[in-house]
Symmetry: C2
Subunit: 572 residues, 2 copies
């Protein structure tokens, strides 16, 4: 964070990372940190080697997983027909020696299984410190299915985090090289950039070539959980022809991703054949990529969705690696007109059914939500999801509260995200200014993440999270006391705040000026307010004096609250 004075610190035995903001009075203010080792000057990172495996020993100590050869990585995983063309085309260097994948030696190795057995895992302890709650509370929330800790045993580099309505609201940033543009290096860079600004998880939505290799780079270098949509890669493997998809290709892809360390997967198992006709009368049909692919498959074969039909087998696979379900809302509305319609809610009922099945197999599960929803219909989404999915964490994309502002959909969706977060959504999937128009670049990723940090934090405040309120108080106190540098440092984006101030009042002394640049010295209400406090003190003293029979307020009328000699700009 360019020019910010904050530093990294670690709390407790498990060395839980925190961001420390040094204030001008020598105290520090501590906030949640998602940026990983990249912001620790004491740690040297090398993207070609990946991060050090923080959780490896914790996982091995539980003695419930075994290493195995794993599925062989094939040219087709990266979109190539044979070894020769794969090697020829593949300019990207391979990462260092591959770690042997782990999987359950026996039953489920999930955080949910442990929580239900009453065991507080190291991951739960870590999360407890991070959130400032008791570890037992974390365990209980996970056990109840109200929260999940996405933590694949094959992604030991991750710093555990929790997604649930009774914790801080989280945000996800999507990255991914679409078929049209982008490169592996760019995607890894986008991931580290997104977490620097506060992304709690990152979804790799890559399509096109080099999907496997891109993902390997991202996971090995990511301190946050990585989510994917395995269907995208499966579709690549069948040449992009939706009807050619099969459970076999999908299953193989799912295992491939579980072995790599993906922490949660979006699965569009709720798009049932019989729901597809419900979308025909819509303004914007099906707008979820996964949803439209599965709908195409269902219609082409006139068969039930193979993800729905094979859901129990999928549960067994995910349980062996502790990969969480993110039950995709393939029929989410793509316009205000389509919000909360029968197609959407029919699928939600199925997601509720699937939530129950996943939980019965000890698989962690969250549920995805819309999309495009006018403000008056947002709460219904949360209430219904809660009821139908038995309090499983809700994970929504926005929602956008109007369709008329392409180019500004971080804002149209940030409004809906803040509201739905307040109503109880556990994680908010960001939307960048490029939504509906193009692929986000570095600046768009930053804008999207910061907009969503605002939405998530506003939701935390509205939910009465004490730590959230402390942050606002710290910044507002700095503002009121004209501690400009503290105000900048406590903001979500110190560099931008500082540069905006510089534009109007560039000189260094202005950073200690006792007025704001908007109003100038005479009109600064905060300054007058300070003078009033002094006057108030004086009035109290005067009243004591009056009680003793003296004259009151004379001093005040004689002495303007803004003495003439201070009204100039001499302080600037």
């Amino acid at each position: 964070m360019s020019g910010a004075r904050f530093s990294k610190t670690y709390q407790g035995e498990l060395r839980v990372p925190m961001r420390e903001i040094g204030l001008s009075d020598g105290t520090v203010f501590t906030v949640y940190d998602t940026s990983g080792p990249y912001t620790d000057p004491a740690v040297e990172t090398d993207v070609t080697r990946g991060l050090s495996p923080l959780r490896e020993q914790w996982i091995l100590d539980r003695a419930d997983v075994v290493g195995y050869g794993g599925r062989q990585v094939k040219p087709l995983d990266d979109g190539y027909r044979d070894q020769a063309s794969w090697k020829r085309a593949h300019a990207v260097p391979r990462l260092g020696a591959r770690r042997q994948p782990l999987r359950a030696a026996g039953g489920p190795v999930t955080q949910l299984a442990y929580a239900r057995r009453g065991v507080v895992t190291k991951e739960m302890e870590f999360v407890a410190v991070r959130e400032g709650v008791e570890a037992e509370f974390v365990r209980a929330e996970v056990a109840a299915g109200r929260a999940i800790i996405p933590a694949n045993v094959n992604h030991p580099e991750s710093e555990p985090m929790i997604i649930g309505r009774n914790f801080l609201v989280k945000i996800n940033a999507n990255i991914g090289n679409s078929a049209v543009t982008s490169s592996i290096e760019e995607e890894v860079e986008k991931m580290t950039w997104a977490i620097r600004w506060g992304a709690d998880t990152v979804m790799d939505l890559s399509t096109g070539r080099d999907i496997h290799t891109t993902r390997e780079w991202i996971i090995r270098n990511s301190p946050v959980p990585i989510g994917t949509v395995p269907l995208y890669q499966a579709l690549e493997k069948v040449g992009g022809v939706a009807p050619d998809l099969s459970w076999e290709v999908y299953r193989d892809t799912l295992i491939e991703q579980c072995e790599q360390g993906v922490d949660y997967v979006t699965v569009h198992a709720g798009v049932r054949l019989s729901y597809v006709p419900l979308t025909v009368g819509r303004k914007t049909g099906i707008v979820s990529r996964g949803g439209s692919i599965m709908a195409a498959w269902c219609l082409a074969h006139h068969r039930e969705n193979f993800l729905y039909e094979n859901f129990e087998e999928m549960c067994e696979i995910l349980a062996s690696y502790d990969v969480a379900f993110s039950l995709g809302d393939g029929l989410r509305p793509g316009s205000i007109a389509d919000a909360n319609d029968e197609a959407q809610f029919a699928e939600l009922r199925t997601l509720g059914e699937l939530t129950g099945i996943a939980r019965s197999r000890d698989v962690q599960v969250m549920v995805e939500g819309p999309g495009h929803v006018p403000m008056n219909k947002i709460k219904e989404n949360v209430d219904l999801q809660r009821e139908l999915c038995d309090d499983a964490p809700f994970y929504t994309l926005g929602p956008l509260v109007t369709d008329i502002a392409p180019g500004y959909d971080h804002i149209t969706s940030g409004i809906g995200a803040a509201m739905i977060g307040w109503y109880g959504t556990a994680m908010l999937c960001y939307v960048t200014p490029k939504e509906h128009l193009g692929l986000p670049d570095r600046e768009d990723v930053k804008t999207g993440v910061i907009t969503y940090k605002i939405a998530a934090h506003a939701a935390d405040l509205a939910k009465g999270h004490p730590k959230a309120q402390e942050w606002d108080d710290a910044l507002s106190e700095a503002r009121f006391e004209f501690r400009w540098e503290d105000q900048f440092e406590l903001s979500l984006d110190p560099g931008t705040a500082r540069s905006f101030h510089d534009e109007t009042l560039p000189a260094a002394p202005a950073k200690t000026a006792h007025f704001c640049s908007m109003c100038g010295p005479k009109f600064c209400s905060m300054r007058i307010s300070h003078d009033l406090r002094a006057a108030e003190g004086m009035r109290a003293k005067s009243e004591e004096f009056v009680a003793g029979g003296g004259e009151v307020y004379v001093q005040l009328t004689d002495r303007p609250l803004l003495p003439r000699e201070e009204r100039g700009q001499s302080e600037v």
Copy 2:
């Protein structure tokens, strides 16, 4: 609106301006337009002469006003001590011949007075066409005090607009040369820029020198109502020393501004002496400039606020020109911590009392609101204002839903603005990215206005405004049908939408591509959705066929929904 194809049109006998968006199928979509004659190529504008006086004849035809000499403009009005220094310093050319000011010949000449007498004025007719409602409805809402039409008889250049919960939600943009920077030309340019993007009213918050002249330029060139805070100029006249203010200086300033044509004035009459101590325990004291000035005055003299004490005389003045009150919330919270506190609500009760007095004198009145409010405390503000102020239009600044994002306060406040608009606020005062940090430049004004258009429109949608829904539908249909140019043109900012699309897919044919640039041709859900509709149609046909005993679905499985030959990028 760089590169937009929309054009200007006028509806009805009163020539009510509308923005017409030409769509690719030859139809037009019409939206509310605030941009005035500046976007009409048939009108030649000259800022040194001002706009033509649209309402002049309407006003004169009512035969209830008389022209008079008016108060003499003095050097002090512009912040100069004598004629010599005024002329010397005054580089800015004066506007052409000054129009003689008008004022009531007898009783009140306000829209409220007419509405109560059952008269539908030309202004009400104009507003009715603009809003798409019956003129009688407009009259009834004004008569009830639930809406106001700010329309000073000395601002005949303005195109009438209405502010009330049962009409489209409006937005205000603040401009003004602060003591620190800016120039007259810049401020006029900011006004025309702000209305081009959709500002419904503009407040001139100038301080420092040349206030009178700046305002003259702004009003003469403004097709939207202009609001001010007369206290700022009054304070300049007493050298910036709050305790030196007096009713006499203020009254003189108020008349000066009424004669110029200011349409509504923010008056901080609710900051009563006894409320000031209620702010002492706050995190951020008093953050309203006007509030802090009046609080300083009250404390310095230990006397009741002279604006409160002279409120009835003020009503008489405003009634003679039809200037509306905007009752200022001088004690609004300046931080999340201070929201909805006793100081704020004590003042609101007084604003309710003053609303009643103003209405009893036939003066139009709206009431200002916060500020900084967490999401969970927003609704209480609207409900209480409605109750205490008997449904007078509410006009709020944001509110910001968190304090931690200086540099992004258009977003933190856009969230609160959308919500409070939905709850019933009639006008939203914009906040730019520079809030708390510096003065907005051209780009900041645009960003602020568009963010607030989003908030206002989202509120209209949530309130079920049919015209609002039509706009979203038109854009979403264009999106679904891959009518890229129509999608751009229908957006709030066509140039930005188009340029974002250009970044990823710059070639002209991409504007007709049947997929989005985010996903590429294979993964485009909208494209697949189209194919599904075709398939659905086919399925229906197949079912008819089945009813006749034939084979079904064979065609579908044989024919992938995305035929191989179309999967390439040959269409791009």
